[in-house]
Structure formats: structure tokens, C-alpha cells
Symmetry: C2
């Protein structure tokens, strides 16, 4: 059976975007089965009353997402399943929420401190200048999962503890009009110190998963620097990544 596709020209949503969303939904719902051909672009464009560049733009966005593969002389195929979502810059809060865990946050510290050398270098501010410092404990099912220590440059955001307990830091930043662009991350492991162990309810010396991250907005400004430690017994990073052709 041929797929039911249509676009609404009176909508402000770009035509290529309407099409790519419909195709993505069709793949998600199994109406386009893995390995099946998509039909050639010219015919598809004609059927929808669109031009080929518009159809190509829609298809290209799904190729970039890893859902489709194009082959010259063959056609465009749906990738054989397994592909879910590529790695995104997501907050732990969103991850836990998406996984059906009910995340909780306890704000331990929310204050302004002078920047240490490390923090100053990461945020590109003068050493000793004021920066926000937020320490949080993240729980799932009322059990500690991670200890999060974050630094933010001043003047970016009003951080209220009540908001921090209700949602994740990234959501607050986005809501404040900051457009996140990229992040540098370092993931490692180490043995828990006495203090860390106690905070997370682990024995001393237990393996911890650690992450350091600096996040930049689209002007290249560092907007956040964080040092996180996760209970290795309760958390691991799961992600999917694509090969850039």
C-alpha cells in the first residue's frame, strides 16, 4: 500500500519539515518497514505537488538523523531498525524522566563564590570573580543517583532553589532564552572519597562514574561548567552515535 502523505501549504510550518515529520512518524509506526525503498524523489515530489529540492531537504534531514540511507542508482531505504536517537545534550533530569524514573532534586548549596582557577578557565572569567555555585543531589525512587556541582557565570540567570528542585538546569537555561550550542565532556571513573561515599550512600572506595562538562551557547560563551559524580551501581550513560559520512 502506498503511504498517505500530504502537506498543508497554508501552514507556517515549512513544507520540507512537514514532510520529514510525516516520514519519521511513518517509520516510527512501522508503516515504512526497515529496508523498504522510499520511492524515487521525482515521483514523490510530483505526488505531493512539491519540487524535488523540497523533497530532498526533507529526506536529507532524516538521513542526518540516521533513519534513512540513500544509494545512488538504487533509492532511499529505511535503515534496519536498531536506530533510536543519537546522542543529545540532555540533562540527567530529562534522562531520568524519560526513563520513567521520577527524578527528585535536593539543592544542597546555591550561592555565589569567587571562581577557582579551574572554574575561571572553564568559564573564561577572571579568577576570583563572582560565579554561581549550585550543588545538588539527584535522586530516583528516593535513592541518590548523582551529586551535581555546577558553576554559572554571573548575570545569566536567576537561580532559585525552588525552581532547581522542580526541574533540570538545562530547562531553566533554555527558558531564560539561552540557546545551547555545544558541550565538551569528559567521562571517567574513580573511587569514592569518604565525603562522596557518604553523600551518595555508597561505601568508601566504591567506583563512581564521573563527568565534567562545559556547555557553550551559540556565541561561543561558556554558560555552564559542571562536575558530576554518579553511583556506578545505579547509573550508566546510554547513547547512540552516528558516523558522519
Amino acid at each position: 500500500m502506498t503511504l498517505q502523505l500530504s502537506v498543508d501549504r497554508s501552514s507556517p510550518v515549512p513544507l520540507y519539515f512537514q514532510l520529514s515529520q510525516q516520514l519519521e512518524a511513518a517509520i516510527e509506526h512501522g508503516e515504512l518497514t526497515p529496508g523498504s525503498l522510499l520511492g524515487n524523489e521525482i515521483e514523490l515530489a510530483g505526488r505531493l505537488g512539491l519540487s524535488r529540492p523540497t523533497v530532498r531537504q526533507a529526506i536529507q534531514s532524516l538521513v542526518d538523523k540516521g533513519l534513512l540511507v540513500r544509494r545512488r542508482g538504487v533509492g532511499t531505504q529505511v535503515v534496519h531498525s536498531q536506530v533510536k536517537r543519537p546522542l543529545e545534550l540532555s540533562s540527567l533530569y530529562d534522562d531520568l524522566e524519560a526513563a520513567g524514573q521520577r527524578p527528585e532534586t535536593r539543592v544542597l548549596v546555591n550561592t555565589v563564590v569567587p571562581a577557582s582557577a579551574e572554574v575561571a578557565a572553564a568559564l573564561a572569567v577572571a579568577e576570583g570573580s563572582d560565579v554561581h555555585r549550585v550543588e545538588r543531589l539527584r535522586l530516583a525512587h528516593s535513592e541518590p543517583v548523582a551529586y551535581l556541582c555546577n558553576y554559572l557565570p554571573p548575570g545569566l540567570l536567576d537561580l532559585e532553589s525552588s525552581q532547581l528542585e522542580a526541574t533540570g538546569l538545562y530547562r531553566l537555561m533554555r527558558a531564560a532564552g539561552i540557546t545551547l550550542h555545544s558541550a565538551r565532556q569528559s567521562v571517567g571513573a574513580r573511587a569514592a572519597t569518604v565525603v562522596e561515599a557518604e553523600r551518595l550512600g555508597e561505601p568508601e572506595g566504591a567506583p563512581l562514574l564521573t563527568m565534567q562538562r562545559t556547555t557553550f551557547d551559540d556565541t561561543g560563551r561558556a554558560v555552564e561548567f559542571g562536575t558530576h559524580t554518579y553511583r556506578a551501581s545505579r547509573y550508566s550513560f546510554e547513547f547512540q552515535l552516528l558516523v558522519r559520512p
Copy 2:
């Protein structure tokens, strides 16, 4: 000063690709400074004797790489440094080599075994059917860094230990005509068992960084499943990731 750009129409290399490479090199060499405008697309197209779509395609590829940011009514800006390379599907071997370490590999096991339930599920083959099993120890500066255990479906690749000691697994796969497409990864941490500790030269109970990965080619076929353990004292994952707009 205006940037020196030119394209060679007699070259088989696509024009947009020639342009994007020159722009990327200019950014890399600091000829295009962070924050600077790129000049509007129409003028740039005219200067190079190209059409605007071609120039846009070149710019778009750099936007996708996170090197440029476009703003309607403003122009296209070079992102304020800090951006190096986004996360790629790279092998540990390449990572170490790029970091100037001289990686070494010792092949501990290279054989065919019946697939366990876990391996069979990951590779989508029948439990108990034959799969390749490769165990390697990866060293840098003659010190163990990681223990790598990989499984491959049969018939894909002839794995010779001598080749495995000379280069990384991914390079061998690419050289065999396999086009890697995506991978699912899980990164965690745990305490070393006695066997693991001895293999890596760590004390028992030392924190290890662990990674499990299944890699798929562009037909969606699983082509590799691996379980890796890294010495946390000597290795951590460093990467950069972009926010998809």
C-alpha cells in the same frame, strides 16, 4: 582583508565541498576569527562565480559541524572557538594515536566460539551459532590501558592476529568494505575483579571505566559487539557534542 577563496571547476570534487574545506581550513588557521561575519551569501556566491544554493550547501555543512552559526538578518558567524570535533565513532586505537601516544596491541584470544545469549542478542544471530571472538590488551607507552573483548558475526571479515596488532578493528572493517553507520554505547564504571585487575596491572577493586558497544553498518546489520574495560587511572572519554537545533 578579504579571504582568498577559489574553486576549480575542472576538479571532480564537488564545488560546495571545495568551498567548505577552504572555509574550514581558514577557520582552523585563524584567518577567519571567531565571531567574525562571513559576508552575505549572495555576495560570496558572486565573488566565487557560484550560485547561492551551492554556497549555502557549503556553509550548511560547516553549521552541521558546529563551526558556523547563521542568524537571519545578521549573517553567518564563526563560532567562538572552543569547538574542536564532535563525537565520532572512533576506535581507541585512533584516539591514542591522535593523542600522540603510541598504541600497542596484544592479541590474547582470536578464535571462533558459539554465541552466548548476550552476544547472540546483540549481533542478531542464533544463540550457539559461530561468532568470532577477539580479546586484546591495548597499551600506551608500554602500560596497559584497556582490555577489549569483541565479537563479530561470521563471514564478515578475515581476522588475522598480525593485522589486529598493527592497527585498530574499525580500520580493518572499513578496509574490508564495511560502511559503519551507527553504534549503541553504554558507559559505566565498576570495581575490578581479581582477573581484571591482574590483566590491567591495577589492584583488586580498583575503579574501572566500562564500555559496551554494538556497531551497525548502513543496512542495519550488527557488525560488532564489544565489551571494554579501561583503567580509570589512565583513561577517560573526551568528546564534544552538538545540540541539534
